[in-house]
Symmetry: C2
Subunit: 368 residues, 2 copies
Amino acid sequence: MHVKIAYLVSAQNLTEAKKTCHKVRYEQSVELPDNTLSSYIRENYVGHLEDIQEIGNETYYAEISYNKELLGDDFSQLLNVLFGNVSLFDNVTICGIDWKSLPITERLGPRFGIPGIRALLQVPDRALTCTAIKPVGFTSSELAELVHQFSVGGIDIIKDDHGLSNQSFSTFTSRVDACMNAVNQSEDETGKRSLYFPNITADGSETIKRFEYAIEKNCGGVLVCPQLCGLGSVNQLRNLNQTLPIMAHPAFSGAYVREPVPAFTKAFYYGELWRAMGADFVIYPNYGGRFSFRLEECLEINTALRKDSLPFKKSFATPGGGLQRNTIPRFLHDYGNDTVFLIGGSLYQHPKGIKYGAKEFLEMVSDS
Amino acid sequence: MHVKIAYLVSAQNLTEAKKTCHKVRYEQSVELPDNTLSSYIRENYVGHLEDIQEIGNETYYAEISYNKELLGDDFSQLLNVLFGNVSLFDNVTICGIDWKSLPITERLGPRFGIPGIRALLQVPDRALTCTAIKPVGFTSSELAELVHQFSVGGIDIIKDDHGLSNQSFSTFTSRVDACMNAVNQSEDETGKRSLYFPNITADGSETIKRFEYAIEKNCGGVLVCPQLCGLGSVNQLRNLNQTLPIMAHPAFSGAYVREPVPAFTKAFYYGELWRAMGADFVIYPNYGGRFSFRLEECLEINTALRKDSLPFKKSFATPGGGLQRNTIPRFLHDYGNDTVFLIGGSLYQHPKGIKYGAKEFLEMVSDS
């Protein structure tokens, strides 16, 4: 009958932390002062503080339970109950929800998941290789030529850079057509088929149209930026009768995990929430690259993407954002085989060319 | 040919600030190291640092220009160029964009705007009154009874609480039907018609379906949470042939303006960006209420919503979140008549009942 949400509250002492929790449990439910509520509403719909304890460093862990009826019937409303008006409190971080108690678990989690993707690619064990075609400014045929080289080199998944949309230098449909021709041509040459993921991120129903176009053209999956088109839109794509593997990209999302008091812990946001939304692959900025995620945080994201305790399928951790060829062995050791390594620039810089770089990349993940 | 974006960069000195800008201009364009780029791509597509200066307190103001072709043809891609991967840099705040240089200004800004809404309501000058029906747990007929009382009391705009979605205690369609009956009945009684705005926030194309239902049922407008359904989805609604006034609610958005280094300045985010997206009304948490926005910040949001320098219509500032009946005169003085005052709890608490509270509220904004 209730769903529990877990919070980290920054406060100077227990009294302050409890005050914040009191505000949260009203703000996220009835949004009215107590003296305007009937006892029926007060007893049944106001959130309840279930637990609160200091965990050090002026931080308190709290659990508040809410009537499940508040969740309605879609992903957007789940987000609203998780973090609607509370998003406006500077001292609250969301760190958990009791997924098992949700009424909609059959519509959560990736459709394919780790074994489903491995079956598609016929790669039963090793880590997967992924790269992005870029830069912006290239024409669709220039980008397709990159797809050709990468796929002949044996890259498992070749995605659009998230900056490729529907632009004059490369329209969405011309790019999908050209890149799928390149994938088919490479398959004829090598007998192995790479998966090409176009970026379908767009406004509202246009995202669905591009998803349908990707299905029609037999793409291997799609790239989408949940924080640009809405996490609920991604969940809707996941729930269409006919669907494709979904790779989620963190563009526009970083604000939710900014220090010092993030809106969500990184593990909950990229790990649990994006997995629940339906991402088969979650791209996050890897430790040691162009962004500032710590190694420990990356490991926690990986754990959240793979843990058994969530009542839906698991997602592939897809670290990127400045991974180098020479750091693959180290991260393969740290992250394990259920990882997709996303390398861009480092392959483009390979002294022997990108086709060779791609081959070398595949060998690195096959040697483990 | 170029669009300029303005940033605030937190850095200990000019050298550090310039380093960040260098990262930004690559991250938000080609996303490849220099030595992989042709001179054509480097000259035409990498962002250019146009200006950087210290503005005090270890903060630098910088302007970077980008090739307009990057913007593609929709709102989501504009957001991506503004704040895609840069969202993952903890030390960068977006504070401006040169709206006039955008190729898509005819699809930006509210459809109705301030004069359009005033014409709909036949209220030429005074500030507008707005309230929300709640709490969650009420049935559609209980909520409709509130609509009846508020509209007989003369409230201009009656919106769903943003926590009302499609729930077992009140489904979306049953609520719209019941509330529109109540609006019609009140109009018969008083000769004045209030505008009812249902909350249409949902997953992907379901938002559009609910928008169309609101049009079909002759609603006065809609409430939508842009950060839940995607800002691009809201811009798409604004651009449909047949449309309605749009009121934007800040649920799930607060992470973008969290201190100490916000992703966006509040004035840019709620003022310029949501106005550009197409919100006729922008709800923000008022100073002195349940949230922590400062008075100065609220005034800056108001200015951004109304300033002449943007090449599209103006939006109504809609402060809410703990406004009290007794503080209306003060904020009316500070904010002026092009304001919609959103009061919830304080009307529900009125000792003489909500119908009387609504009448008193109207008198307060009419006396100026």
